[in-house]
């Protein structure tokens, strides 16, 4: 320990970032090393580690920055852990990037307890009511009290009816030194009404009395940011990488959420993650739980009325941008639509309200991390088609089948793009593409330069094949009838297309390559002459792709 002190004092003389606690009896050593002082502190930490005063308690790969490794080191005094005295060292491929520490600089106490663990167990149990149990092993620690005075203590978590708390007792006298509730209130399940008026659950976090759209239950970081109708800021975040703060998160004070965009974006991004995990065993965008960042409320519906035409897309569109956001983290953006009546015959409600749109955008992220299909012409159309296929599949996974609002169908965006006066809701149809003027056969494909070579328009050719492979039916143009696998077996087609698009397709694949890859995928999964392989073969032929 004397060596520790010597090094601490030496280090403190050198570094400005050292913040030794001011009170004489509170010799706490805090340091935040992120700059030039890193090397010295790294040497200090390494020396302490060698001396046994710091021991590695945890090593994790940072999921948000894969090249980073975060080590958590626990301080020990004469072999006894000092409670909550730690150093966290973040390294990039072995090179320290930051070191934060909070250590006890002076303990100087006898580490021989005055009672056995068994006796301490009884004392700890006595802190609870009748029937109390200990949820953690009884541990001997050095506890730094608020006064700074170190005390040798036994600790455990005591649980009895209605309460669970960690308690520390003096290891000699048995007197209680400290207790605090072990119940963490951060994770919370809220509810809210979405765009179509349905009630959804939201996995959120409670911080400072406010519920934040930060999902603590799903494996990836899943955040929904409210741009609070500040389009300029939204553009800065998306395209210039302006930082996002906790204060930017969508929030609610009573966990009964009323912002329909926040409810649907946050809940349905989570559902889409769930769909990929449960159906395909995939862990999010990159299969390594890359953060899922959504931006909402960049423009209010009323604000959309006065938007210049070049920015109108930020009201009536949604998108995924792989290289956007702070640190190119990748963001999903959902427009809020426009006031009813602004566009004759069509109400455009917040786009996050459509599960298939949300899953469509997230799937673009999946494609970016896998086949990375080029965004133009046939590869681009395949990219869009795959997003529509997975968007539709997510609907069928979670929603009841039907043609109504909030029901699973083969329309895209029908819960946000609502036809008024008897028209067809949505923006595309996988079952009947021609209803929106999109091709249902390769011979009708758009060949102009607009829409990046018709990526959205022509997406309905492969997505219609996807529909036919599941449901079966006769192609309107070719007249070829497809024997689909049936709705009960839709999983086979979903998995075949997923396998082809995620694992097999090259970035510049055209429709013909997609045909071959999806048939191969079905053969891989279900056999050469399986119903799935035959249905997919027939479906591609029916839409004129050979």
């Amino acid at each position: 320990m004397k060596r520790v002190m010597a090094m601490v004092l030496a280090a403190s003389a050198l570094l400005i970032s050292l913040d030794v606690g001011s009170a004489q009896q509170a010799p706490t050593l805090r340091f935040n090393a992120t700059g030039n002082d890193l090397r010295v502190w790294d040497q200090f930490v390494t020396a302490q580690e060698r001396a046994g005063a710091l021991r590695v308690a945890q090593v994790v790969q940072d999921p948000s920055v894969p090249s980073r490794t975060v080590e958590r080191l626990q301080q020990y005094y004469q072999g006894v852990p000092v409670w909550a005295a730690e150093v966290v060292r973040d390294s990039d491929r072995g090179v320290p990037v930051s070191i934060f520490g909070d250590l006890s600089a002076q303990a100087d106490i006898d580490t021989q307890p005055g009672m056995t663990v068994e006796a301490a167990t009884q004392r700890l149990l006595a802190r609870g009511a009748s029937g109390a149990v200990l949820l953690r092993p009884v541990t001997l620690v050095v506890l730094r009290q608020e006064s700074g005075e170190p005390r040798l203590a036994y600790t455990s978590v005591v649980a009895n009816t209605g309460q669970t708390f960690r308690v520390f007792i003096d290891a000699r006298s048995g007197a209680e030194l400290l207790r605090y509730s072990s119940i963490r209130k951060q994770a919370a399940i809220g509810t809210g009404r979405g765009v179509i008026g349905d009630t959804k659950k939201m996995s959120v976090r409670l911080q400072g009395g406010v519920y934040l759209a930060d999902d603590p239950l799903r494996p990836p970081v899943l955040l929904t940011f409210d741009m609070r109708n500040n389009l300029i800021r939204a553009l800065n975040v998306v395209f210039s990488g302006a930082p996002l703060f906790v204060s930017d998160l969508a929030s609610d004070t009573d966990n009964n959420w009323t912002d329909v965009s926040a409810v649907d974006a946050h809940a349905q991004v989570g559902w889409t993650y769930d769909y990929y995990f449960k159906r395909h065993g995939r862990r999010g965008l990159d299969n390594r739980d890359r953060p899922l960042i959504s931006l909402i409320n960049a423009v209010s519906q009323q604000g959309a009325v006065t938007l210049p035409p070049e920015l109108f897309d930020f009201a009536v569109n949604a998108f995924w941008c792989d290289d956007c956001g702070p640190g190119a983290i990748g963001v999903m953006f959902f427009g809020n639509g426009v006031p009813n009546g602004l566009i004759p015959g069509l109400n455009i409600n917040p786009l996050a309200g459509s599960l298939d749109i949300v899953a469509h955008e997230l799937t673009h992220g999946v494609t970016s991390a896998t086949s990375d299909l080029l965004p133009t012409n046939e590869p681009g159309a395949l990219n869009e088609a795959f997003s529509d296929m997975m968007g539709t599949s997510a609907e069928f996974f979670f929603q009841p089948v039907g043609a109504g609002i909030g029901q699973a169908d083969y329309l895209i965006g029908e819960d946000s793009f609502r036809a008024v006066g008897g028209g067809l809701s949505g923006i595309r149809s996988l079952s009947n593409p021609i209803a929106f003027g999109d091709p249902d056969h390769y011979s009708l494909r758009f060949t102009g330069p607009e829409d990046d070579g018709g990526v959205h328009t022509n997406s309905t050719i492969p997505s219609h094949a996807f529909y036919l492979a599941i449901e079966g039916g006769r192609n309107r143009v070719s007249g070829i009838t497809v024997q689909g696998v049936g709705a009960a077996n839709r999983e086979q087609i979903e998995k075949s297309f997923y396998r082809a698009f995620v694992f097999l397709l090259p970035a510049s694949a055209n429709f013909s390559t997609a045909r071959a890859a999806t048939i191969q995928a079905a053969r891989d999964l279900y056999g050469t002459s399986s119903a799935a392989a035959q249905a997919i073969t027939q479906a591609w032929t029916a839409v004129g792709v050979n």
Binding site: G131, I189, T191, T199, K201, S203, N255, G270, W271, D274
Partner: protein
Amino acid sequence: MKSLALLFVSLTFALCSAAEAQTRTPPRPAPSQRPAINHRVFFSAGVLFQVNSNDFTDTATIRRNAENGQLETAYEVGGGLAFDASGSYLVWKNLAVGVGLTLFSASTKTTIDAQVPHPFFFNQPRSVTGEFDGDRKETAVHVQVKWLVPVSNKMLVTIFGGPSFFKVEQDIVNDFEYSESYPFDTATFTRAVAANQSESAIGVNVGGDVAYYFSPNVGVGGMAQYSGATVEMTLPSGTGDVKAGGFQVGGGIRLRF
């Protein structure tokens, strides 16, 4: 409870009627031939076996993940051995009054069957089942009016009844804990959160005893009694009735002085 009271009243009437009939039935035995009660103080102590079980259940609504779920608890309170002791004093002819004590304890197995709402979706509860081993203790103090019927100098039949004061201690499962992980489609029971509860109630006792004295003061006897009560306990769903005691048979030592 009413039926027990009726039973007690009927037995009392039956005894009185028997005594009355005896007075009308000629020929009356000579007083010297009739077994006499030559003792005033009677003690008994022994072991009883409680025949019946006192199982009970509770169904409560629980709030988890912003949705209502359900917690069903089923308590198996089986029969078992009880210690019983009583003392009585002859106050008039064949009538004695006394006090008795019955102590009963048993392990109770509680089955927990819960439906825990999913954190992400409505109407997709996870089933969580588990067990908890708790305890039941019953202490019953009986105030007894006894009618003694000497069959011979060595054999004494006693019929008794009266109110009983029950104290019931029962481990009640108030809540439970479970473990879960993403995607949260299942949850696993980890432990019950239980607390011991003690409640009291007034019940009734009624029964009969046959004693054989192999010496002037010491004998053995067998008895059968019903002593029971219903206590009100606080359960997760609110307050509920919990039965205690029941039909008990057994035997032990008998003393008279």
